[in-house]
């Protein structure tokens, strides 16, 4: 399978801040690849380098087979960008936003208008064709930004936190649109800090933390590799947790993870550990047993810093 983007030892400093610490990854044609990480993990810096807002100062970045220092217009014309903030043009209406954007790609007005109308239909925005951008809800704006990113029929779409700030209905709708896009063979790269989004959409995930990639794999692989299959959330205040609990959990073959002021226990046999809780002085009614998921991987990898 072809690699659309190849990064080798990408590094970036902003003044004294080390935003990217020599990361390497490849994005394969046709996949949906997610970058998962806290704010400030380096996701947006990586995206900005791909779509030409940041220069590659250290390492190598190859996009569509061409090494780039600052992604040039010829490569940008193959990419669609959904930026983190909705930077729609408030001076233009919905249709014009798409038409004018198409104009940037050299589309003639008629062609741009045809594509714009198709995209508005695809995104369910036909009845907003002549609406002002500022009259749209957050979800509709997001859909319009995605439509705009598709005006040049891109081979690669980069989405920087595509559903941040959306309500659940709007989020699901955006996900549906992205799945449809992927089924057409478009390569998707997205950043998110929503585990559900990552699990629902991505074939492969890169977990980023403090400018480095900590883990890589499909959502399922990550769960299998990095956590035990069962999680118990201990929903009591930390000072009510008996001393030495972590050791007891470890002795029973499990793992205890404290994240800020929450406690998580992991076990190979969840039922077995659940039965032991009472004896350890932890009231089971204040606990919650469930299968481990991506969130556990994320907390484990990034919650306590470098420890792995």
């Amino acid at each position: 399978m072809n690699n659309v983007v190849i990064a080798e030892n990408l590094g970036k400093c902003y003044g004294s801040l080390r935003a990217l610490n020599g990361i390497s990854f490849a994005i394969r044609e046709g996949e949906c690849c997610g970058f998962l990480g806290h704010n400030g993990a380096g996701k947006t810096t990586t995206m900005r380098m791909i779509y030409g807002l940041s220069t590659v100062d250290e390492g190598r970045l190859t996009i569509f087979g061409r090494p780039v220092r600052l992604t040039p217009p010829a490569i940008k014309s193959l990419i669609g960008i959904v930026p983190q903030e909705d930077n729609l043009d408030p001076d233009l209406n919905v249709l014009e936003n798409l038409e004018v954007y198409g104009g940037l790609f050299g589309l003639r007005r008629r062609e741009a208008r045809e594509r714009a109308r198709d995209l508005l239909a695809l995104m369910g925005l036909e009845d907003k064709t002549h609406a002002k951008v500022n009259e749209l809800s957050g979800g509709l704006k997001r859909r319009l930004v995605i439509a705009r990113a598709l005006i040049n029929r891109p081979r690669l779409v980069v989405l920087d936190e595509p559903t941040t700030g959306l309500d659940p209905q709007a989020r699901h709708l955006v996900w549906q649109k992205l799945r449809a896009l992927k089924s057409e063979g478009v390569t998707l790269v997205l950043t998110t800090h929503y585990m559900e989004e990552a699990a629902q959409l991505c074939d492969r995930l890169l977990v980023m933390h403090e400018g480095a990639i900590l883990a890589e794999g499909s959502p399922r692989q990550l769960v299998e590799r990095h956590t035990l299959p069962w999680a118990i959330e201990v929903l009591v205040l930390l000072d009510a947790i008996p001393a030495g609990l972590a050791d007891k959990v470890a002795a029973a073959g499990g793992e205890a993870l404290q994240v800020v002021d929450g406690l998580f226990l992991y076990a190979t046999d969840g039922e077995d550990m659940w039965r032991r809780l009472d004896g350890w002085g932890v009231p089971p009614h204040a606990c919650f047993l469930r299968p481990s998921n991506l969130e556990d991987v994320f907390l484990k990898l990034t919650g306590k810093g470098e420890e792995d």
Binding site: Y14, Y51, G52, L53, S54, T55, L70, P72, P73, A74, K76, S77, I81, P83, E85, N87, L88, D89, P90, D91, L92, E96, E99, V100, Y101, G103, L104, F105, G106, A149, N152
Partner: protein, 249 residues
């Protein structure tokens, strides 16, 4: 090419807003013309062989052009850069930062020539233009437009707060037009102000506008045109690098 595509966006917006835009940029010079025209004409019978209104009118043409380029590439640019994020949106398309910045200045330049020409048409209708040489004025206004678009962009690229634009308007633009020979001949000013006027792009532009409006075009005008063009060539690259640094990091 990229810059023209950027310009296309601006023209599309202009298609919506031109009525208001023309209105405000045109009204101010006309108010000056009315106030000073009526007020001063009673005292000043003649300046340099012409009536006061005739003296004033070409200055108002240049003033209108000055405002158009200045406001577009200061407040307009600032809003697009910082509030509307228009620049970043355009940069996601196949254009460079340089295209975006040039497109902005091109728009400021076009508006400069257009709005100045509107005032020129008005004063011509009022009978304040004597010669068809005035038809060359829009070309000059385009050169003037480049100068003031670039200066405004340059300053706008420096600042981070929109309120700082007031300094530019008050400390740069206002002296340019108060001392630039729009309202009275510059030779009544102290010698050092006259010397300083050699660096005032508006002064050179007004001298040319006035001569063309009166049909007094002569070889001497090329000096003013030359200085104006030279200032343009010097200031044009300044915002490019600075603004590029702001956009790409």
């Amino acid at each position: 090419m990229g810059a023209l595509r950027v310009l296309n966006r601006h023209l599309r917006v202009f298609g919506h807003t031109w009525q208001h835009s023309v209105m405000f940029t045109v009204i101010e010079p006309l108010l000056y013309l009315a106030a000073f025209g009526f007020g001063m004409s009673a005292f000043v019978r003649e300046i340099e062989g012409m009536g006061y209104l005739e003296f004033l009118a070409p200055g108002m043409v240049a003033l209108s052009a000055l405002y158009a380029a200045t406001f577009e590439c200061s407040y307009g640019t600032f809003v697009r850069l910082h509030y509307q994020k228009t620049f970043l949106a355009m940069l996601a398309g196949p254009v460079t930062a340089r295209d975006v910045i040039l497109g902005e200045m091109l728009y400021g330049t076009l508006k400069s020539a257009l709005f100045g020409t509107v005032i020129l048409a008005v004063v011509a209708l009022l009978g304040l233009v004597r010669s068809p040489q005035a038809l060359a004025i829009p070309l000059l206004l385009a050169v003037q437009g480049v100068v003031f678009a670039a200066l405004a962009m340059w300053y706008t690229a420096y600042i981070t707060n929109i309120d700082y634009l007031n300094y530019y308007i008050t400390l740069a633009i206002l002296p340019f037009f108060l001392f630039g020979g729009l309202f009275f001949p510059v030779d009544s000013l102290p010698a050092w102000v006259q010397a300083a006027n050699n660096l005032n792009p508006l002064y050179h532009s007004v001298e040319v506008c006035r001569a063309l409006a009166l049909g007094r075009a002569g070889a001497g005008l090329w000096l003013h045109v030359g200085v104006l063009a030279l200032i343009g060539a010097v200031v044009l690259p300044l915002p490019l690098r600075l603004m590029e640094k702001r956009l790409i990091n």
